[in-house]
C-alpha cells in the first residue's frame, strides 16, 4: 500500500511545530521523541507502519481546537486516532503528520435516563459507555468485536457496526449529536438530545467520514433499555448453501432476530480446537439470537426452529440456561483469536445481498484453491456483512501480497453481486485503491468535493479513503 512521500519542509520544521504544540498543551501531552512516537506507528492493520512526526494527547475540545489551529496555520497534516483498533489503517500516520489521539478524553459528561441519552468525550471506549449506564438497566447498542478497546471517536469515524445491528442499527443510527473541531480550529455542535436535523443532515455525513471532515471530541449517544431476556439457538448444516437459504427463510418469515451469525467449516474447526465450545462437526452453523419477554422468545424460537427443521439440520441446539447461551456464543466470540492461532490473517469486511451468500461462499472457496491460501468465514449473515479471514504467513516473502490480491478479488466479487467493499471497518488505506471498483469518477468527485467544504486545505487524514491519484491535486494544493 503506497503512502504519499512526506513533505521535507515539514520534517525540517519539526522542532518549531513541536514547540508550538507544547505551548498550548499540558506537560507530557506532546510526544515527539522517536522511541515514543513508535507507539503510534500503526493501528490494528499492523502490516503497515510509519512513526508520525509527533503525537498529541489533548484532554478537551479547547485543546483539540488549539492543536488543529496550529497545524492548519503551519500546513501540517493531522491523523486523528481513537484507540488505534482500526483494521483498515484508518489511523496510520505519515512521517510528516501529527497524530491527534483522543485517549485522554474519556469522561462521561452527562447521563439522562428520562431522555435516554449519554454524552461522552469521544475517547471513551465503546464498552465503557454501556458500563456507565448498565446499573440503571440501559445499554449502548453498537457492539463491534473490539468493543473492549475501541473508542467512540473511531466508532463514529468508521460508522462501526457489530453483531446486533440487524435489530439495533449501526453507529449512525445511535448517534444523536457531536461536538466537532474543524481543521481550522473552529468548533461546531451538530445535533444533540433532540431528534433529526433542522437543516441538512450533517451528522449523517460526519458519521463514517473516517476523520477526514473534523475531529469529534464529544458525542451524544442514544441509550436503550436492556431487553427482558435473550436466547440463542445453534443450528448446524451440511452445506453453506442450505445455511444461507435458512437465513433467508428466517428473515422472510417475519421474525427479526437481533443477530444471525454464520461460521463455515474451517472456522468451526479452528474455533473448536481453540475454545472447545462443543460445536457440532458440520459444514456451516448459524447462531440465531432472539430477544424479548419469555413469551416472545418462545414464539420466535418456535418459528425459527420450524424453519430450520425444513432444512434438515445436522444439529439444532436451543439454549436452556445462561451457561448454555454463553457456551454457544463462546465459539463465535473466539473465532478471530482461534484463526490467529493458526496463522496471520487478513480480515475482510465486504457486504453482499443475503441472497448471494451461497454463490459468494462457493466462489471464495474456489479462489482459496487458486491462490493456495486457506480462508475461514465467520460473519453477520442477517445483514450480509461477510468477514472472510484469509490465512497467510507474514514471514514468508510474497505471502502478504498474495493475500492482499486474494482479498481484493473477494471484495470485487462483493461489489459485482450488488454489495460493497466494507460493511463496518471502513476504507482507510486498506480498501482505498478499490474505491474505483465501487464508484465511478463522478461519484468519487462528489465525495472529494464534500471534503473540500470541511477541509479546504486537505490536511485531515488526507491519504485515506480515496485512491491517491484521485486526491493528488487536492493534497498538493495544501
Amino acid at each position: 500500500m503506497e503512502m504519499p512521500k512526506p513533505d521535507d519542509a515539514i520534517l525540517a520544521n519539526k522542532a518549531q511545530i513541536v514547540a508550538r504544540l507544547q505551548s498550548v498543551l499540558p506537560n507530557g501531552a506532546v510526544i515527539s521523541v522517536e522511541a515514543e512516537t513508535k507507539a503510534y506507528e500503526c493501528d490494528a492493520l499492523s502490516a503497515y507502519r510509519c512513526p508520525p512526526l509527533c503525537a498529541v494527547l489533548p484532554t478537551n475540545t479547547e485543546e483539540v481546537s488549539a492543536v488543529l489551529k496550529i497545524c492548519h496555520d503551519m500546513g501540517v497534516p493531522v491523523v486523528p486516532r481513537g484507540a488505534g483498533t482500526s483494521l483498515a489503517g484508518g489511523a496510520l500516520p505519515t512521517a510528516d503528520s501529527v497524530i491527534l489521539g483522543v485517549a485522554r478524553m474519556s469522561d462521561v459528561l452527562e447521563t439522562d435516563y428520562d431522555n435516554r441519552i449519554i454524552r461522552v468525550q469521544s475517547g471513551r471506549t465503546n464498552l465503557s459507555v454501556t458500563g456507565a449506564v448498565e446499573e440503571e438497566g440501559f445499554f449502548y447498542a453498537p457492539d463491534p468485536s473490539s468493543q473492549l478497546a475501541c473508542a467512540i471517536a473511531g466508532n463514529i469515524a468508521m460508522n462501526s457496526g457489530g453483531a446486533h445491528c440487524l435489530k439495533y442499527g449501526v453507529t449512525t443510527n445511535n448517534l444523536l449529536g457531536v461536538v466537532m473541531v474543524l481543521m481550522d480550529g473552529s468548533v461546531v455542535e451538530v445535533g444533540g438530545a433532540h431528534l433529526d436535523a433542522g437543516g441538512l443532515d450533517l451528522l449523517g455525513l460526519i458519521c463514517g467520514s473516517e476523520g477526514q471532515l473534523g475531529v469529534v471530541t464529544e458525542a451524544t449517544l442514544k441509550i436503550l433499555p436492556k431487553p427482558e431476556g435473550a436466547r440463542p439457538v445453534l443450528i448446524g448444516f451440511d452445506s453453506n448453501e442450505v445455511a444461507g437459504a435458512c437465513v433467508s427463510d428466517i428473515i422472510k418469515a417475519g421474525v427479526l432476530p437481533v443477530a444471525i451469525e454464520f461460521m463455515d467449516r474451517p472456522c468451526i474447526e479452528a474455533t473448536e480446537a481453540f475454545a472447545h465450545a462443543g460445536y457440532p462437526e458440520c459444514e456451516a452453523l448459524l447462531i440465531v439470537e432472539v430477544e424479548g419477554s419469555d413469551a416472545e422468545i418462545d414464539a420466535q424460537l418456535e418459528v425459527i426452529t420450524a424453519i430450520a427443521e425444513q432444512h434438515n439440520p445436522v444439529e439444532l441446539r436451543q439454549s436452556k440456561s445462561e451457561e448454555e447461551s454463553a457456551k454457544i456464543w463462546l465459539g463465535r466470540k473466539s473465532a478471530f483469536g482461534a484463526m490467529g492461532q493458526i496463522n496471520d490473517y487478513m480480515c475482510l469486511d465486504g457486504t453482499i445481498p443475503v441472497s448471494a451468500l451461497p454463490y459468494v461462499l462457493k466462489r471464495i472457496g474456489e479462489m482459496s484453491t487458486e491462490y493456495g491460501l486457506d480462508v475461514g468465514n465467520v460473519f453477520h449473515a442477517g445483514d450480509g456483512n461477510m468477514h472472510p479471514l484469509i490465512l497467510y504467513d507474514a514471514n514468508k516473502p510474497g505471502d502478504l501480497e498474495k493475500c492482499e490480491a486474494f482479498g481484493a478479488d473477494v471484495l470485487r466479487l462483493c461489489v459485482e453481486v450488488g454489495g460493497c467493499l466494507t460493511g463496518e471497518h471502513g476504507v482507510g488505506i486498506e480498501k482505498r485503491d478499490l474505491m474505483v471498483d465501487q464508484f465511478n469518477g463522478v461519484d468519487l468527485e462528489a465525495q472529494l468535493r464534500v471534503k473540500d467544504v470541511f477541509d479546504p486545505k486537505w490536511l485531515l487524514n488526507p491519504a485515506k479513503v480515496f485512491p491517491l491519484d484521485a486526491s493528488a491535486s487536492r493534497r498538493a494544493s495544501q
Binding site: D114, R116, F138, H194, D196, L205, K252, G384, V450, V453
Partner: protein, 370 residues
C-alpha cells in the same frame, strides 16, 4: 413550464439544460414552495427490486408510496418509519411519492423505535445541479464505503440533487398491536409517563399525548407491537408501571388502534383549522416548558414529547419563543417565516458550501434551506 423526465437520463438532460431555477417535486403533496419551473419525478416510477428474504426494496423516485406499501404488505413487511401523509393537513392532492418521502425525511410515530426515514434508507441515485448522475450507498444494509451521502440526501429537500432512485431496509410487519391509553394527564405527567414507557424494556413503538384530545380531554397513548402473547403481557406490565400517574386502559381493536395512530401520524386534529402549523424537535423533557410558553391554539406531542406539533396564530415567531431551548422548528404550513430553522456560524457556511458544490448554479429548490 413543467418538466417531467421519464428516466434518469432525461432527468440529467433536463437539469443540465435548465436556464433558471427549478422547483423540484414528486406530486407536490408536502407543500414545499419555491420559485422556478416545476420539475417532477412522478413519471419515473416502479419497484425495480424487492427481495423479502433480504429485507430490501429498491424503487424509482416517482413510485407512489402506496404502491410500495402494498407490495411490502403482500409479503408481510413494511417501511419501518411510518411516513406521515401531509394531504389532510395541507389540503394538497395527488399521490405521495417515495422520492418525496426521502427528500423530506418523513417519519411518523414509530421514529422513536425504528428511526427516521434516513435510518432505513440504504441507497440513493440522484442527479446534482450540474446534471451529473451520482450514486451512493447501495442495496445492502451495512455499508461504510466512502462518505454517507445517503443520509445527506435524506432531508435535503432536493437542494443538493434530484433523487432518481431509493433503496430501503424494510422490516417484518407485526402480528398484534396494543395501546395503553391514559386519560387526564398534565403535559408534564404525560412526558414523564412516556419517558418511563420508552425507558422500559417493553419495546414501545409509539408514545404520543394530546392535551386537548379528540373530545377535548387530555389523552396519552403508548403503543406496543409484536407477537400477540408478548404484546398483551407488555401492555399489562406497562399499565402497572404507570398506574401511579393515571389509570390506564388497554385498547387492542385493530381498526381503532390503526385509526388512532393515523390521527397522530397525520396530525388530523389540526385539519381544517386556520393558522400556522409548526413542527418542533426538542429534548422530550423540555416539551412541557416549551408548550407552556407557546400560547398555541392546539398542540400534539409525539415521540415521547420530542416532537411538538403546534397550531399557532399567523405572525407568532416560534423560533423567538424557543431561543433558550435546544432544538429546531420547521414551519410546515404557513408562509410568514422561513420554512427551516436558519443555521448560524460555521454550520451555516458548511451547509452553504455543500449546496454550492452539489448545485453550483443554485437552481435546485433555490433558497429553500438557506
Amino acid at each position: 413550464m413543467s418538466l417531467k423526465p421519464r428516466d434518469e437520463k432525461q432527468l440529467s438532460e433536463a437539469i443540465a439544460a435548465a436556464k433558471g431555477p427549478l422547483r423540484i417535486v414528486g406530486n407536490g403533496t408536502r407543500g414545499v414552495m419555491c420559485e422556478g419551473d416545476v420539475l417532477t419525478t412522478a413519471a419515473m416510477s416502479g419497484i425495480s427490486l424487492y427481495e423479502p428474504g433480504a429485507l430490501t426494496v429498491v424503487a424509482a423516485a416517482g413510485t407512489p408510496l402506496a404502491e410500495i406499501e402494498a407490495a411490502l404488505a403482500a409479503e408481510g413487511q413494511r417501511l419501518p418509519f411510518e411516513p406521515m401523509d401531509h394531504r389532510g393537513l395541507l389540503g394538497t392532492k395527488g399521490e405521495p411519492t417515495i422520492g418525496g418521502v426521502v427528500a423530506a425525511n418523513i417519519s411518523g410515530p414509530r421514529r422513536v423505535q425504528a428511526g427516521a426515514c434516513r435510518d432505513s434508507l440504504i441507497g440513493v441515485r440522484f442527479v446534482d445541479g450540474r446534471g451529473d448522475v451520482l450514486k451512493n450507498g447501495g442495496r445492502v444494509m451495512k455499508n461504510v464505503t466512502g462518505y454517507d451521502l445517503v443520509k445527506l440526501m435524506a432531508g435535503a429537500h432536493g437542494t443538493l440533487g434530484v433523487i432518481s432512485e431509493v433503496a430501503f431496509k424494510v422490516l417484518p410487519d407485526v402480528a398484534a398491536t396494543a395501546v395503553l391509553l391514559i386519560n387526564g394527564l398534565s403535559d408534564a405527567d404525560a412526558v414523564l409517563a412516556m419517558s418511563r414507557a420508552l425507558g422500559s424494556p417493553y419495546e414501545v413503538s409509539g408514545a404520543a399525548h394530546t392535551p386537548n384530545g379528540i373530545d377535548g380531554h387530555p389523552v396519552t397513548m403508548i403503543r406496543m407491537e409484536g407477537f400477540k402473547a408478548s404484546v398483551a403481557y407488555r401492555a399489562e406490565q406497562l399499565r402497572v408501571l404507570l398506574a401511579d400517574l393515571g389509570e390506564g386502559v388497554i385498547e387492542t381493536d385493530p381498526a381503532r388502534v390503526s385509526a388512532g395512530w393515523k390521527w397522530v401520524r397525520d396530525v388530523e386534529a389540526f385539519d381544517g383549522h386556520e393558522g400556522n402549523v409548526w413542527r418542533i424537535s426538542v429534548k422530550p423533557s423540555d416539551a412541557p416548558q416549551v408548550v407552556a410558553g407557546l400560547g398555541a391554539n392546539a398542540v400534539l406531542l409525539d415521540w415521547g414529547g420530542g416532537l411538538i406539533w403546534a397550531l399557532m396564530p399567523q405572525g407568532a415567531d416560534m423560533r423567538a419563543k424557543m431561543r433558550d431551548v435546544r432544538g429546531h422548528a420547521t414551519l410546515v404550513r404557513g408562509t410568514d417565516f422561513s420554512r427551516f430553522q436558519p443555521e448560524v456560524g460555521p454550520l451555516a457556511s458548511i451547509s452553504a458550501g455543500l449546496r454550492a458544490q452539489f448545485d453550483p448554479r443554485g437552481i435546485l429548490n433555490a433558497g429553500l434551506m438557506g
